[in-house]
């Protein structure tokens, strides 16, 4: 019984982080209809920036979130305007391959800059933990989860209540109609990309304090984001949260009860199954692109 509770708790914590790591991917997919295969790179970029910042300034890595988000916001905006925008209106496979090309280049650059070794961000409370009932919680994981949930709520509120958020949602629903109402769609695309990149960077910091990372991990984080989005539904923080929690639970449960090597297998079986039965995701923002 304790084992089940512990596994479930671990799964939920992991799931919250998956959700944060996927929300940017989901937003880009929902608004630009681009599968951003360089998402994992943006996540890692956040992690490395935080590593450098927290080492240089001796501050808590979670305090690095605002500056890193600003940096990635700018990078994302420029990246979209310079490269992605040129492929947005072409076939979907083209824009996907474009981002993949960028991911390969940046991965190579990261290997040059940061070496291919595993790195870790270690905050001062890295080895503290506490118990609620029989279940053990690491301080790091809990703070990571709380940071994820706060950031997700901020994004949800931004999309729901701010005028910029409203414009982004309108563009996602009907690009043409938004354009007719005077929305500068290119700017909105770039802005969406920038916001997504910022959240990817924040996710990178949160990931960096609980898991080791290296430039070779980018594929994993991109794929996780994809799975989360397919599970939860496109374009909404709530969808990402549901998908992320589900993915976290499934992978920890599989690792615990079937074998540590099988989370990816169950993950993909679940993914294919869901694509077939409910292609719009659990929180169905229905969209036609999948079939």
């Amino acid at each position: 019984m304790d084992l089940i509770a512990q596994t479930l708790a671990d799964g939920l914590v992991l799931g919250g982080i998956y959700a944060l790591a996927a929300v940017g991917f989901s937003l880009i997919f929902g608004v630009l209809h681009v599968i951003n295969l360089s998402h994992g790179i943006l996540v890692l970029l956040g992690a490395y920036l935080a590593l450098i910042l927290s080492d240089a300034l001796h501050i808590d890595p979670l305090l690095c979130i605002p500056p890193v988000m600003v940096a990635l916001f700018c990078i994302g905006y420029v990246y979209q305007r310079l490269l992605i925008q040129r492929a947005v209106d072409r076939a979907s496979v083209n824009s996907m391959l474009l981002t993949f090309g960028v991911a390969l280049m940046l991965q190579n650059v990261m290997i040059w800059l940061f070496s291919p070794d595993m790195k870790n961000i270690t905050p001062s409370y890295a080895f503290n933990s506490f118990k609620i009932g029989p279940v053990n919680f690491d301080a790091v994981r809990v703070s990571a989860l709380i940071a994820s949930l706060i950031l997700l709520s901020v994004l949800a509120a931004f999309l729901r209540y701010s005028s910029m958020g409203r414009v982004i949602r309108a563009t996602a629903q009907q690009t043409m109609a938004a354009r007719l109402c005077g929305v500068n769609v290119r700017h909105v695309y770039a802005l969406t990309f920038a916001v997504s990149a910022a959240f990817a960077g924040a996710a990178g910091i949160v990931i960096g304090i609980i898991l080791p990372f290296s430039p070779n991990d980018e594929g994993t984080w991109t794929l996780n984001a994809f799975v989360v989005v397919v599970l939860g539904g496109v374009g909404s923080p709530a969808g990402a949260l549901i998908g992320g929690l589900l993915l976290g639970l499934v992978s920890t449960l599989t690792a615990q009860y079937i074998g540590p090597a099988f989370p990816n297998v169950t993950m993909f079986l679940l993914l294919v199954l869901l694509l077939l039965v409910r292609p719009q995701g659990l929180l169905g923002n229905a969209f036609s692109a999948s079939r």
């Binding site: 496979v93 090309g101 794929l223 090597a261 993909f268 993914l271």
Partner: protein
């Protein structure tokens, strides 16, 4: 310009003879490069039957390389007492059969997905295949499988496999050519252009897609079996490779998506660039491939063929 079938046949025959004679006059390094080019061209062609003609770009075709290779290896180790000339056909048959069965089964669910969803679902198939092979002891993916040496006595193994890859690539080219000029091929092209309209006009899209998928998978599997023999020893990581998954798309993109010779041109060029020009700069490979991909998408979405056509039209 009117096409003269006899002339074309003569040119093709000459090219085949020249290619087949390659190992006799090429230095050893270029025999290796030629091997890799022919292997890549064969894979690219097999991929393009589904990805180029029907527009279903798969991101996980290395699944079939792996399945073909591991089936062949496991079957051959069961019958290791047979003489080597019988082992290869046995391995090829086993590899082809397993790819055919598996692709026919997964075709039903997976071909219902379109575009990027199909691409990523195939990536999932190849990852699941890799993990299953790696983690179930029966498949020996983590430990590795040995293949018996096949080259007849007195022949350099590199030349022997060069010829095998050539045969595989030619078979695939022949099949693509036959498909391209058949009613079936026209049906596949119509699926790429507009699947719903094609279906409305009476093209049996579901059946065509499935057949193209299985043919593509079987041919990929055959190349995988030959590749495994040429390596002599394989683990999961040497056949289920993500860079193969990517390269297959790049070949077609580089050569010209949906054209018959596109994948051949693309494979030849890319192998030449990475192996010969960048051969010494291993650290630079990822970056170069990425850069090439970005430039291609931005500047020449039609590939080499597209550029040539554009020039011809403007001239």
């Amino acid at each position: 310009m009117k096409r003269n079938p006899k002339l074309i046949a003569a040119v093709v025959a000459l090219a085949v003879v020249l290619l087949a004679a390659g190992p006799t006059f090429l230095p050893p390094f270029y025999v290796r490069v030629g091997q890799l080019m022919l292997y890549s061209a064969g894979l690219g062609l097999a991929w393009a039957i589904l990805g180029g003609f029907a527009g279903y770009a798969s991101f996980g075709h290395s699944a079939f390389i792996g399945i073909g290779a591991f089936t062949a290896g496991l079957v051959e180790s069961q019958y290791s007492t047979l003489p080597p000339p019988l082992l290869l056909p046995l391995g090829l048959a086993a590899g082809a059969l397993s790819c055919a069965i598996l692709s026919a089964v997964i075709a039903y669910p997976i071909l219902r997905l379109r575009g990027t969803f199909f691409a990523i679902a195939m990536l999932g198939v190849s990852h699941v295949g890799a993990e299953v092979t790696n983690n179930i002891d029966f498949f020996q993916g983590a430990m590795g499988l040995n293949f018996p040496p096949l080259a007849p006595a007195g022949m350099d193994p590199a030349s022997f496999f060069y010829e095998l890859f050539l045969a595989g690539a030619l078979l695939t080219l022949l099949i693509s050519w036959l498909i391209r000029r058949s009613r079936f091929g026209a049906g596949l092209l119509s699926i790429r252009e507009d699947e719903d309209t094609a279906r409305m006009l009476g093209v049996p899209t579901e059946r065509y897609k499935r057949v193209a998928f299985v043919v593509s998978a079987v041919l990929t599997g055959l190349m995988g079996v030959i590749y495994a023999h040429s390596l002599g020893y394989i683990t999961t990581d040497s056949v289920y490779r993500d860079d193969t998954n990517l390269s297959l798309i790049v070949y077609s993109l580089l050569g010209g998506m949906g054209t018959l010779f596109g994948p051949v041109i693309g494979a030849g060029l890319l192998v030449f660039i990475t192996q010969v020009i960048l051969g010494r700069l291993l650290d630079f490979h990822l970056f170069a491939t990425g850069l090439l991909l970005v430039l291609l998408i931005l500047m020449a979405p039609g590939g080499v063929n597209g550029l040539l056509n554009r020039k011809r039209r403007s001239a």
